[in-house]
């Protein structure tokens, strides 16, 4: 039922002396939405960001273990990090449009990977903006700076931008926590719509959101993997008492 696409094996991440992720071993299923849940500061974002090696950017970071994407360990020496990241789209918690126009934001990814044909780019930009549910609102003003959009629109733009490089996976770090309820709902709907084409992994600290969207759940606490499994099972019959305590709101 759940075919693994990403296989995390014995992943340990240190920020200097701090042991942030402790020996994580779990598989992420293909073409499903996986939610990483747990209280704040428990390593959820680190886990997410290690999947596209954005953790490389942090000063003093040390990583051991393997992350196999389609059978290849992304932490191997010979791997081209930019190719990995092309496969993994990332949407950050706070919308982070690049300092350019709406069109250029969306086209940025394909352009840096070598796409130069204007017509192709136009078509791609339109498709992605449609895919993010933003096309109708911006089609008349593609050349305007992205900073002029509202927060919710910016986040959808970030989604479009991520889709433009034709990733296989979508990583979302609390994608709606900075947005108003209506924009949040919009993003959630889009994620559900595109789920059939992408493997989606998202981090959230809002359990209700996880219940709404997730097919598979990973529960992290203080850097350790406490429990993981199909959403139904974890939410209704968690096997670990800490999971139960978290779900029932004993701590958060």
């Amino acid at each position: 039922m759940f075919k693994p696409h990403i296989s995390i094996q014995g992943l340990n991440v240190f920020y200097g002396e701090r042991h942030v992720l402790k020996d994580i071993t779990v598989d992420i299923p293909e073409r499903r939405i996986t939610a990483i849940i747990g209280p704040s500061g428990c390593g959820k974002t680190t886990l997410l960001k290690s999947l596209n090696r954005l953790t490389d950017l942090i000063d003093g970071v040390k990583v051991s273990g393997k992350v196999l994407v389609d059978g290849v360990n992304i932490f191997d020496n010979g791997i081209d990090v930019t190719e990995i990241r092309k496969k993994m789209g990332l949407i950050a918690q706070m919308p982070n449009p690049l300092p350019m126009s709406i069109y250029d934001n969306t086209a940025y990814g394909p352009r840096i990977h070598g796409m130069i044909d204007e017509k192709e780019l136009d078509q791609l930009v339109e498709n992605c903006l449609r895919g993010a549910g933003l096309w109708d609102e911006v089609k008349e003003r593609l050349k305007e700076p992205a900073s002029k959009l509202s927060l919710g629109q910016q986040q959808r733009l970030c989604l479009a931008r991520a889709l433009a490089v034709k990733p296989e996976y979508l990583l979302c770090d609390e994608p709606t926590s900075a947005l108003d309820p209506i924009s949040a709902q919009y993003i959630e709907t889009q994620l559900l719509t595109i789920k059939k084409s992408y493997t989606i992994v998202f981090v959230t600290h809002v359990l209700r959101q996880a219940r709404r969207l997730a097919d598979y759940v990973i529960f992290l606490y203080l850097g350790e993997l406490i429990e993981h499994g199909p959403a139904e099972t974890v939410f209704t019959q968690p096997s670990n008492p800490r999971t139960r305590a978290y779900i029932e709101g004993v701590f958060g």
């Binding site: 081209d80 930019t82 190719e83 840096i112 070598g114």
Partner: protein, 282 residues
């Protein structure tokens, strides 16, 4: 894909080259000056004033310039400090974010950018008007004018960083603004102020254009504020301009002395910052 990597490698190479040029030029300046000046350096250079015939190659040294520069730099730094501290305090304790404060900071920035020759020219005008002659006093006044924007800016930057809760605590205890300023902010800013003072001292001791028109030049050590005074930068400049090789060599040696002085000041300011940092609350 390869194209990307190539482009990056190319520019990275250029970047390393450029940075090496910058660092290399620093080393080149030090090396050339020291290598040329060290041979001519002798104890008499440091301990004697020019005797008769010094400028023709005979005995003597540049003690006049060394002491002269030190007197001048100390005087100018002290005078500038008397002006800078109140201004920096006023900007941070009284005027704060007002328009007046922004205007003042802008003026200070402009003053900072004005070349020292203009200060020299201005001082010269005042001296003519007052009928004064070139002297240590006017050298001090000119250099302190030149140096006080730098010092004020530096002290201001340090005070700006002082966390508000410190001041809040002082006010909550019922202090006046003056007391907070003097007892709390100043103490907190002490290492930064020391650095600012050393920075200004270094600028003051090395500047030639401002003293050229106002401090005069002499072979003796000044006995009063109204005597003309010799300065190290001018010692280098004048000695370099003679056709006599021995004197030119002495110019190089004077250059070394000045350079070493500036280097020591720079190191001192860095060390002092580090040493006093332990008293500072972040």
């Amino acid at each position: 894909m390869n194209k990307r990597k190539l482009e990056e490698a190319f520019f990275k190479g250029l970047m390393l080259l450029s940075t090496s040029i910058v660092v290399g030029s620093l080393l080149a300046v030090f090396a050339v000056v020291i290598l040329n000046g060290a041979p001519a350096l002798s104890l008499s250079m440091l301990t004697q004033t020019p005797k008769g015939g010094y400028y023709l190659g005979k005995e003597g040294g540049i003690l006049n310039a060394i002491i002269g520069s030190v007197y001048l730099a100390i005087g100018a730094t002290a005078l500038a400090f008397l002006l800078s501290l109140p201004i920096a305090l006023y900007l941070n304790e009284y005027a704060r974010k007002s328009r007046f404060a922004s205007l003042t900071r802008l003026s200070l920035d402009v003053l900072w950018g004005i070349p020292s020759i203009v200060y020299g020219a201005f001082a010269f005008i005042i001296m003519l008007y007052l009928g004064a002659r070139a002297s240590l006093l006017w050298g001090i006044i000119t250099v302190s004018l030149f140096v006080f924007p730098i010092m004020t800016r530096a002290i201001d930057e340090v005070m700006k960083m002082s966390p508000f809760k410190l001041r809040e605590a002082s006010y909550a205890l019922g202090s006046t603004r003056l007391e907070t300023a003097l007892k709390v902010v100043t103490r907190q800013a002490l290492p930064g102020m020391l650095t600012a003072v050393l920075l200004a001292f270094g600028r003051g001791i090395g500047d030639a254009a401002s003293v050229l028109l106002t401090a005069g030049y002499t072979d003796s050590v000044p006995h009063s504020l109204f005597d003309p005074v010799a300065t190290l930068p001018l010692a280098v400049f004048f000695q370099l301009g003679t056709p006599i090789p021995e004197v030119q060599q002495r110019a190089y040696a004077s250059g070394v002395i000045l350079l070493v002085l500036v280097l020591l000041l720079s190191i001192a300011s860095r060390l002092s910052t580090r040493k006093f940092m332990k008293y500072v609350i972040k």
